[in-house]
Amino acid sequence: MTRLYLSPMIDFDKWQEIFNSIRRHPLRTTLTALGVFWGIFMLVLLLGAGRGLQNGVEYEFRDDATNSVWIRRGVTSIPYQGLPKGRRIKFTNEDYDMLAEHFGEVDQITGRFYLSGDQTISYGKTALSYSVRAVHPGHRYLENTIMESGRYINETDLSEFRKVAVIGAVVQKDLFGDEPPLGKEIKIGGTVYTVVGTYTDTGGDDEMRIIYIPVSTAQKIYAGTRELHQLMFTTRDMELPAIQQLQEEVRDAFARRHQFDVQDRKALYIFGAAEEYQKFMNLFAAIRAFVWFVGLGSIVAGVIGVSNIMLIVVKDRTREIGIRKALGATPRSIVAMILQESILITSVAGYLGLLAGVGAISLMESIAVEYFRNPRVDLGVGLSATLVLVLAGALAGLMPARKAAQINPVVAMREGG
């Protein structure tokens, strides 16, 4: 009867006994908690930082198509078939045509023609300075330009040498404010262009301070040539080795057309974003592996730390165990007491470590740094790591606790102070 009545009280009483023990042994509690806290904290921080770094670099790449290839002109550094070194290579519309006609793997192509320096752009009384890019229609896909209104440069613009312009969101805001810009006339240098489209770009404000005009119009008005300053193209869905193969074939074709040694790396620069992207991806795989290695290392260190502390705790409590046994504690209750205390401390410490880690990551998130973005941590990973440490602590405590609970109380009471 009495037992039955008291049974709900028993557990409460047991936990009160454990809390009492924890409260009266701050050093022991802190030491046990610290290893777990620190292990989980570092793991969460590491995983979060690793993820943030990866997100950051992926974000930097979002602006440009990752399957783009950029071709830039150079100056020959090797004499070739009687031609001296130091020749400047020049691209023309024929190079564009060659890329379009001879390379089936090439998807979108564009040339770029730069107007020298920033141009003064004016609308009504407002006059500001922006850079102007003269491009082919394919440029849109190379820069991941997002059309907000109107249209991009098209083939008809090119063939009819139309004076049309596509303006970035920043240009639009600066020149037009809330006024609708489509169909309005702006002056670039001395020439009047009609705005046919507006765009945004994920690359940030600098990418939206640009005005695009048809490449043919610019060549005719500002230079009277068929020259291009730069060529870019995207590849169809291809693996990296195939893209690299294509780049070599393109180099070959340019070497033949412009008569330079194909080995002359300074005559022509070909830059493949895919190659660069792959490099970063490889770097991440390495960083991820490293993060996991260090993370697992901190968990192992935590396990060893907790195990050591538990050995010391049991040793430290041997006398207490002897006294309790003499007063009527069963071996089972002794083992339970030690394990429950350890599990309570390590669980709370692990949870606090998790909280602190997530908190620290939130702080990192608020600091805007390039190549670092959205550090996130999989809470499941943190919780499993906590569980591992809690179990390790319990297991490490179980063996010595069992042993200590079997010692003759009289012998146990002789231990230590």
Binding site: R3, M9, I10, D13, N20, A326, L327, T330, R332
Partner: protein, 275 residues
Amino acid sequence: MLRITDTGLKRPFICLVFFDRHYALPLLTHSKNRREWPDAIETRLSMIQLRNIRKAYKTGYTQLDVLKGIDLDIEAGAFASIMGSSGSGKSTLLNIIGILDEYDEGDYLLDGKMIKGLSQTEAAHYRNRFIGFVFQSFNLLPFKTAQENVALPLYYQKMDRRKRQDLALEYLNLVGLADWAEHLPNQLSGGQQQRVAIARALITKPKVILADEPTGALDSKTSFEVMELFKKVNREGMTVIIVTHENDIAAMTRRIIRLRDGVIENGNATLSATK
């Protein structure tokens, strides 16, 4: 033997202890209760019966016989001391009586109950209910207050916290330390600590108080006070057994049991015999 009479007298008494704390202390506070016990039964009643107890420790290839056939009867309400030089087996004997250690051969009856081949859990249960220990080094838990220390044995009886704390305070009052209830052991003198330990031994209303060199760490004045407390406890009817090597301490008990080389040399020595 007299077991039926024994249970008939003692059981209701023990039960009262668990159900109402107002009845918890009659033995110690109201001496009239004790007077109701017929003297004839009390003196003939065996609290501890040891029959041919043998105990040996095996170390490697050698066997060390510590107890070589102990026959001993200690009657209920006795105030006895066990004496002997170190190595005489008195500590082993005390451990066996206190159910802290097992014996190889023989029979041990505690208040008529056979104490033999117990599991660790059973042994713990019997220790908790039947034996009150007092040690030379007090063995209080340093992180618990005097009151909490005294209450601890009742924790293992799963008694309600409030109830056992109240009882602990009453027992502290009994040993004259009610004002020190909230103190930690290191804030108490040696004599005070030992009195706390005695209160802790008494709180479960055990059958026997076993004291292992209880005055070994105390000066003679404090030793005397502690022995006075034991005398008082014994006067209230509690069986008290003290292990000591000090003649003047043994002289304060009513019976001296002398041990030598694992056998009882003199089971009922008197003070004059020791001198």
